[in-house]
Symmetry: C3
Subunit: 343 residues, 3 copies
């Protein structure tokens, strides 16, 4: 594919310094972009980075643009080059991957009585159960299962093998990758002597608009309350959200995060990959938890929090870890040295 | 739905103090239950909690009942209110969600020669391979794959997209949520210079009665021995059980737990979310491992075990983590101070 | 099944000391192998282990063989008994589990224009999209989805419910277990005030030869670059590989590992279960990371690395963890004691 630079700027904005007739053949990261390609530099980059650009087009902030691009490199100047790149990537993808034709694949199973908008695409072997509602322009991939009474907003895009459990409600423009399970039972059991008695999970999952869920990510239905994901929430792959959890708007969680039941997580938070949040606690808005850290208590102040054992050569780690098991006693010994008259 | 309180007590027991003709419209947690709703208070709750009840019915223990419920609140008195609630929730769910009609969906594929009980429900596009046996009253969701020779006990409930690998054996009343994979190959390879030679996994998975497996949870088949889950085992979502592992009766594991190959875990244990158990070790009965803790050695005594780096503000964590890498040397320095004559 | 020992040795090599007409009924681990069974002892084993063998056949190294096997036990002598066992297990499995007949199941959906080799096996409800290529002798399990333009090498074995995203390229002899998702979107978003703008993921996943991916494991497509798994890479279940990651040849990762975006991991590495590797860093060849350890910085030297909080009885842990939050200050206090004149 080849696209005229002027057409890109006409669609996405930015100030063009250079040749509107330049032909862009692909997008590429700055370190390897070459002639014909378009790349970007974030404001953190330096004159040295700019000097090494071999792309035909670079999206960059005004301060970098003032330094002067290498000869023959067209510039698109914008305050937020990374955001510009994001929009460009979508615009590009829409051209590289033409939209799927609307229609219901003849092998799909749609329960009697379900009415689908003419604009939806339903892939092979998809299943849409009784009383489910799919919004206009929805795309359901192969083997998706949309449970009874599910409400799925407009412009949803479900990859293959997505399961939406009975009664779950999802807003507009949802993106769900393959293997997502929304609305499985929460993990709730009452002890009965040595055995466990199941607590039926009577709630659903409610998902706001513009939510993206990564591959094989699970969001459980609530026990009595519902599990709620706010608008703009982004969950990476293999994330686990327990029952009754509430996640505030625009909070993002990287891969392998686990959030235990009934936790309430604020808006605009980020949880690094592999982080664990225990149940029944609250995390304030604008909290950023480092990867692999464990949130064992409520966090009431915005800020960055961490708790990871530092990696070390195995032998050093082993010695330090052994000593760590005596740390409290070391502190007592230190205290005794500090106040020797108390001996 | 509206249910007469007297009917609930007739079905589930408990001592009723109040109006048997009270109408219950739904179950709700105590903090928000209002008129028409039924809730519960566990023995840990106080008179103040009881005074705030606005539900029409509360399930509570005798000690709380003696304090006197607010006016107009009916009481159901039972020694274990949480267990009562669990049974009530199931009883309620059976009314809210009528059972699926028996029968095999016309789109399902059942291998020639397989005989299914008339009482089973088989959903769209389910696959039942050669020589598989499905017990009476089984429910197989859409897209389930029941492999060759699998034996699945009575009253199994498989959600969508569950995969049961060849030869696996599952007891009665199994509940498996969407995306469960039972009987994938264990992770076994012999080094052959720099490369790995696959070890064929010749065992199966054997699962007891009353086992529940969460969404996208994986239990690998054994290498030579079988992988075994005892009766009443409950695994949450995204749990990984390696080959040859044995899990004792009624042990429960929260989301994102990983148990490496050949570990033997006792009965009535609990593993918190994200805990990791290394391979080839033993965990005694009645061991409780905190969330995100790592079991690196066998545990021979019942009890509670933990090992998590405490969460802290990032800057504090960074200082402490850096110091931790010198902890062993700090201990040496402390020792030298304590015995200065040895300098 | 019963196999003549002489036939095994003829097929797999090794020096036979014993009866070639011995009949082997199954393979079993040494601790429980009995008459009729075949087992193995690795070079780490001792004379005592050998003396306890009750199997009919044992594969063992020359040094152990010289000690003399128990009476009636045939020996197969080879330098690498574990590797021999691996090959034997495969040879055995090929007999126990006869290969699936070639052919495309009548319920599968193959897009118009796709040509499949006559040697492939395509299971029920599999989906093969436009322009996909499947190599000779490929096995696609039930409900697999092979996306548009995918290239899948010869002798691939895909279990049920595997999803290969559009444009991904996989080498020969791939083994993918149920629920694998290859080529979901990487987790890329540009901040736009409080909200996130999606970055379209324009790369693919490229997988070398002889790669095995465990159940429900996810490998994301690249953003602009591709995500690359080298030859012989082995990933266990529930592993997450972020976008743009590169994994060197023969690197193996145990269950629940997460590798964040743009990490570059060398060849012949091993990552223990639950390990986390942060994004945008490099791990040298021949690095071994212990289970549940977190790689927060690049590792430039081969070797073994660890970072795990040691498990302890909960009360001890709690005291030590609390003290750990003051560790840096403890160090300051220690320093003051060491240099009292500076007070």
């Amino acid at each position: 594919m080849t696209i005229r630079l002027g057409d890109i700027v006409a669609a996405l904005g930015g100030e063009l310094q250079g040749d509107p007739d330049a032909q862009v053949t692909s997008l590429a990261p700055a370190y390897r972009a070459k002639a014909g390609e378009m790349t970007f530099l974030t404001p953190q980059k330096t004159a040295a980075d700019l000097a090494q650009i071999q792309a035909s087009v670079v999206v960059l902030p005004p301060a970098l643009a003032q330094l002067g691009a290498p000869k023959g490199v067209s510039c698109v100047i914008t305050a937020q080059p990374y955001l510009y790149h994001a929009r460009l990537s979508q615009w590009w993808a829409a051209r590289v991957r033409p939209p799927l034709a609307s229609g219901v694949h003849p092998t799909a199973y749609v329960a009697p009585g379900v009415k689908l908008p003419a604009s939806v695409h339903v892939g092979p072997f998809a299943v849409i159960e009784h009383a489910a509602q799919v919004g206009a322009h929805g795309v359901l991939g192969a083997h998706c299962v949309v449970g009874e009474g599910v409400v799925l907003g407009e412009h949803a895009r479900l990859a293959a093998h997505v399961t939406l459990g009975q009664g779950c409600v999802v807003g507009a423009r949802a993106v769900m990758h393959a293997g997502v399970v929304l609305g499985a039972d929460g993990f709730g059991f009452a002890p009965d002597g040595p055995r466990w008695e199941k607590i039926a999970q009577l709630g659903v999952v409610r998902v706001g608009d513009d939510v993206e869920l990564g591959a094989n990510t699970c969001v459980d239905r609530g026990a009595l309350d519902d599990t709620v994901l706010g608008h703009g929430v982004k969950l990476d792959n293999l994330v686990q959200i327990g029952h009754n959890v509430q996640v505030g708007d625009h909070t993002a969680m990287a891969g392998c995060v686990g959030v235990a039941g009934s936790a309430v997580i604020g808006a605009r938070c980020t949880l690094g990959g592999g982080a664990i949040v225990l149940g029944h606690l609250r995390v304030a808005d604008d909290v950023h938890v480092s990867a692999a850290s464990v949130v064992t208590r409520s966090i009431e102040q915005a800020g960055r929090y961490s708790g990871v054992f530092p990696l070390d050569a195995h032998d050093s780690w082993e010695k330090n870890a052994a000593t760590l098991r005596q740390l409290h006693r070391l502190r007592e010994r230190l205290r005794r040295l500090e106040t020797p008259h108390k001996d």
